[in-house]
């Protein structure tokens, strides 16, 4: 309080006193005795403090004075009750912290625009094919699209790759990307040093040049500008470094798999790169010209693809272009999940608020006298409400500050543990928006949980409060507490239902039979030494055989196979074919499509896939023998509905190779545990890798993928694999090792992410709700001790007392459960996207969760109820 304020105060004080003196003087002049006159003057004046208080209201800056005063008083009250204060702040810290954490994720991932200039103009470009809306673009098609379109300022293409980097310390595997010249120009990302590729440098026959990431630049060149112009040996071939890519750059904004090396597309030594019908995992990005809508661009692309379809009917009939805004490509999957989680965490905060409100209500009963006295001394009702709100906002701000700390330390840690690679997770930070959000949420929470107790308290009749020492004046408090507990139960139930549904989905998913046995199966990649480049296809085949033998000779390894093409649940690959006894289809739309697994004889055994008919590949199948294929049940059923596939022959479109079907095996869930049946492409074909055409075998000089089965513990197996690998060649890199179970777990990443977070929120809600009902019932028992004593004295049995208290608790619980179930029916629909195998209103989950919450609440009520049962009537009656 400043000097100015003090002066005003003494002035007011003096004015009131002078009024009383004048009034008394007048009375004595009329002949009244001095003492009586002073008393009469006082009586006539009324409540001195109240008059002062109302007079102060007309001062300016009044609220600020009051606020400072309330603040001091509030801090003093909170410090006087450390137990209450710490419980309330802890509850709020959890509630606000969880909200702040999730909001900082939502803020970074969803709210901030993508970190590219005018990112709304960016689109992903794919080739739409009969099987895939978003298939990969062949490089010749891309070049034509790029040349002929009128809608884009620039169009780029890229394709991830892996290189072994040699000649700079120990050989290592680096993530790379083949890119077209305009790749960076489209995004308007500039190199931090040097240049990007220029027009034409991306074509076959261009000079071997490369851009490298800022990370690799720092690691291998100590961030020296001299790096430009130096050479880099990738896959045994020398590339000249022309530019450095900004730190943390990734097209899809994901932290994992950021490329370290960018190489022109034309450098890809893939014999079918320039084939118009090849699907090589190339996808495009483009920037719309200002003012051009995505619909106009789609029409433009349709014009181009129609032209190409008539120019190249064999390759391009039925091929279109599909354009998807980049934002949707990057964030489409995570947006609904994050928003749902944000709603869930909002519920947690509401529950925390209800708990603190209940604590405050219980405490305000104890403080009834305090407020009655303040009212008697002239505090207006508004003033008391404001005082109480100041206290509650102080609490919530305390919780907010701690919550913010929790969020900042917790978010990154949590994202590391949680099984999800969120786009843009590296940009999660404490910015103004997160600060404002936390401040806003804290204030809102403070007002929310403070308002009911404040209004309730200020309502109290002065007389009753002073007379009754706060004992009986709490009837309406009890009602308010009851209502709050019911609400809390209802909200906890909604969260529990959400968690229950995801847990059930995940259990169902884990129990889906994927068609193979993932246990003890491990895959890894090998990058071959540069010397492989000069080897003939037959030499490569014999090296592959040797690699198999070396790994198979590790004790404890009982099955090794090369695995090219698709890996169940891990990665896709497909091929076109036609049946030999039918005429060759005129264009791609008439071809059959199949997933392809290019493996060896051990594959079936090590994956535990059942053989249905005929035989699988054997070691008699080799490059000299008849080329064979094994198909799965879905293939057999689809292409040979009325005949036996065994002995039939198929012609592979790309290679022209003819394969004889020798066996039928069980179907494997290629597309994920739960999402296989909905996919259009499910037919599967197994081919022998050594029977692949020479040109194809030659592409494996850069590396291969191997799958093996072993009972060894993972760590022991990995070290054995590494030492075996080192023995073969110091320049051969083993990388990307993943157990089949890890691949499956990864495929369930978003479900597990949702389940873990919702589970945590629901657990928190359950704890808070049971603490809440425990607190309220304990409080009621305390209030009714005397009544219970009387009942027992009058002959009530312990049983009756127990029933009385439990009945009260269970009434609230069941009301809450009922309301919660009704709310869940409406709300869980929002999460049907992450559910598998259960409906959003799964009755079993609803019933189980209702029982769980009721049981926990029952247990929470039972403790105070037992206390009530043991009330000694004599003690209870003497109490007071």
């Amino acid at each position: 309080m400043g000097f100015w304020h003090k002066k005003k105060e003494t002035d007011l004080e003096e004015e009131v006193r002078s009024h009383l003196r004048l009034s008394a003087q007048e009375r004595t002049e009329r002949g009244q005795e001095a003492g009586a006159a002073a008393q009469a003057a006082r009586r006539e004046f009324g409540n001195v403090e109240l008059v002062k208080e109302t007079a102060r209201d007309s001062w300016s800056g009044r609220w600020l004075m009051d606020f400072v005063e309330d603040l001091r008083y509030g801090v003093r009250m909170l410090r006087k009750n450390p137990g209450f204060t710490s419980i309330a702040i802890l509850t709020l810290t959890l509630g606000i912290g969880a909200n702040s954490a999730l909001f900082s994720v939502v803020n970074a991932v969803l709210l901030n625009p993508l970190p590219y200039p005018h990112s709304e103009q960016l689109v992903m470009v794919h080739e739409s094919k009969p099987n895939f809306e978003t298939g990969s673009i062949s490089f010749p098609n891309f070049l034509d699209w790029q040349k002929e379109n009128r809608s884009f300022t620039a169009m780029g293409a890229s394709r991830p790759f892996g290189f072994s980097l040699t000649g700079m310390g120990e050989a290592e595997q680096v993530n790379a990307r083949f890119i077209s010249s305009d790749f960076f120009a489209v995004l308007e990302v500039n190199p931090i040093l040097g240049r990007t590729f220029t027009k034409g440098e991306d074509l076959v026959g261009g000079a071997p040049i490369a851009m490298i990431s800022a990370g690799l630049w720092r690691r291998k060149f100590s961030a020296s500008p001299e790096a430009i112009g130096k050479s880099l040996t990738l896959g045994g071939k020398s590339y000249m470094i022309v530019g450095i890519v900004p730190a943390n750059f990734d097209l899809y904004l994901r932290a994992a798999n950021q490329a370290d090396v960018y190489v022109p597309m034309g450098q890809w030594a893939n014999p079918i790169l320039m084939r118009r019908d090849a699907g090589l995992g190339i996808h495009g990005t483009a920037r719309l010209k200002p003012g051009v809508t995505i619909e106009q661009a789609r029409a433009d692309m349709a014009r181009i693809t129609d032209g190409l379809a008539s120019a190249y009917p064999n390759e391009d009939k039925g091929i279109g272009a599909s354009l998807i805004p980049l934002r949707k490509s990057v964030l489409g999957d995570v947006q609904p999940i994050l928003l749902m989680l944000l709603a869930a965490v909002g519920f947690v905060l509401l529950i925390a608020c209800v708990n603190v409100a209940n604590l405050l209500l219980a405490r305000s009963t104890a403080r009834t006298r305090e407020f009655a006295i303040r009212a008697a001394l002239g505090a207006g009702r508004q003033r008391i409400v404001r005082q109480l709100l100041t206290e509650s906002v102080l609490l919530s701000l305390g919780g907010g500050v701690l919550g913010l700390l929790l969020a900042q330390f917790g978010t990154r840690a949590a994202l590391r543990i949680l099984p999800v690679d969120l786009p843009r997770s590296s940009s999660i930070e404490l910015d103004t928006k997160v600060l404002l959000f936390t401040l806003g949420v804290s204030l809102l929470a403070g007002i929310l949980f403070g308002l009911v107790p404040a209004v309730k308290t200020s309502h109290l009749g002065l007389h009753t409060a002073l007379k009754e020492s706060g004992r009986n004046s709490s009837g309406s408090h009890n009602r308010a507490q009851g209502v709050l507990v019911v609400l809390e139960m209802a909200m906890a139930l909604v969260l529990l239902v959400g968690a229950g549904l995801t847990i059930r989905s995940l259990t169902l998913l884990w129990n889906v039979d994927p068609g193979f046995r993932p246990d003890n199966v491990m895959t890894f990649n090998l990058a071959f030494p540069p010397t492989m480049n000069d080897k003939s296809p037959d030499a490569i085949r014999s090296i592959l055989r040797d690699v198999d033998r070396q790994f198979a000779s590790i004790p404890g390894v009982d099955g090794v196979s090369q695995t090219w093409g698709a890996i169940p649940i891990g990665s896709e690959d497909d091929q076109q074919f036609w049946l030999e006894d039918q005429p060759k289809p005129a264009d791609p739309s008439g071809m059959g499509w199949t997933l392809d697994y290019i493996v060896e004889q051990d594959y079936l055994k090590l994956m535990g896939i059942p053989l249905r008919r005929g035989r699988f590949l054997t070691d008699q199948d080799n490059e000299q023998s008849t080329h064979v294929a094994v198909v799965d049940e879905v293939f057999a059923h689809k292409y040979f509905p009325n005949s036996d596939p065994i002995g039939k022959r198929v012609v592979m479109t790309t290679s022209g190779d003819k394969l004889e079907i020798v066996g039928v095996v069980g179907h494997v869930n290629q597309w994920g545990l739960g999402s296989d049946e909905a996919q259009p492409l499910r037919a599967q074909m197994y081919m022998h890798c050594l029977q692949m055409p020479d040109a194809f075998v030659s592409t494996t000089t850069s590396g291969t993928t191997i799958i093996l089965h072993s009972q060894l513990p993972q760590a022991a197996l990995l070290s054995a694999l590494r030492s075996t690998n080192q023995r073969m060649s110091a320049e051969q890199v083993l990388f990307g090792e993943q157990s089949m179970n890890e691949i499956i777990a990864l495929s369930l990443g978003s479900q597990r992410f949702v389940m873990m977070l919702l589970g945590a929120f629901a657990a928190l809600a359950l704890v808070l709700a049971s603490v809440g009902i425990y607190g309220v019932i304990s409080y009621l028992v305390g209030q009714r001790t005397r009544e219970i004593g009387v009942r027992i004295a009058l002959g009530a049995q312990q049983r009756d007392v127990l029933r009385l208290i439990l009945g009260q608790g269970m009434k609230m619980t069941l009301l809450g459960v009922g309301m919660g179930l009704a709310a869940s029916l409406a709300l869980t629909r929002l999460m049907s996207a992450v559910l598998y195998g259960v409906s959003a209103t799964d009755p079993l989950t609803f019933i189980a969760v209702g029982l769980l919450l009721s049981t926990v609440a029952f247990a929470a009520c039972f403790v105070p109820a037992r206390r009530a049962m043991r009330v000694d009537p004599m003690v209870a009656l003497r109490y007071e």
Partner: protein
């Protein structure tokens, strides 16, 4: 507490301000003096509650319609005297004419009622 107010005529919102300004037209006066004057001139019907009087005085002072200074009264008592300012006089004129209109309007309505 409620009974205390029952025999009193509730002043219309804003009327107290008018009465205070009117009272101060006859010369500077302290709060107690103002309440006495209003009571006496109204034939003891209008009792000004101190809880309304002082907030009103402070409010009018904030509007700069009245000013205040500490003086010694004729009875040798220190008291805070309020005085009408120039803008206060104009405000009083405005309030008075508004009051006349209101009075006539209400009287008109009441006459119709009596017919």
């Amino acid at each position: 507490m409620k009974q205390r107010y029952q025999n009193r005529i509730e002043l219309l919102q804003g009327t107290l301000d008018l009465l205070i300004l009117q009272t101060l037209q006859w010369g500077p006066q302290h709060g107690y003096g103002i309440s006495l004057a209003i009571r006496n001139h109204s034939g003891e019907i209008l009792q000004v509650d101190t809880g309304s009087l002082y907030p009103a005085l402070h409010r009018l002072a904030k509007q700069k319609w009245i000013s205040a200074e500490w003086k010694v009264s004729e009875n040798n008592q220190r008291a805070k005297y309020y005085r009408l300012t120039a803008t206060g006089k104009k405000q009083l004129a405005r309030e008075t004419s508004k009051w006349e209109q209101l009075k006539d309007a209400i009287a008109g309505v009441m006459r119709i009622q009596e017919k």
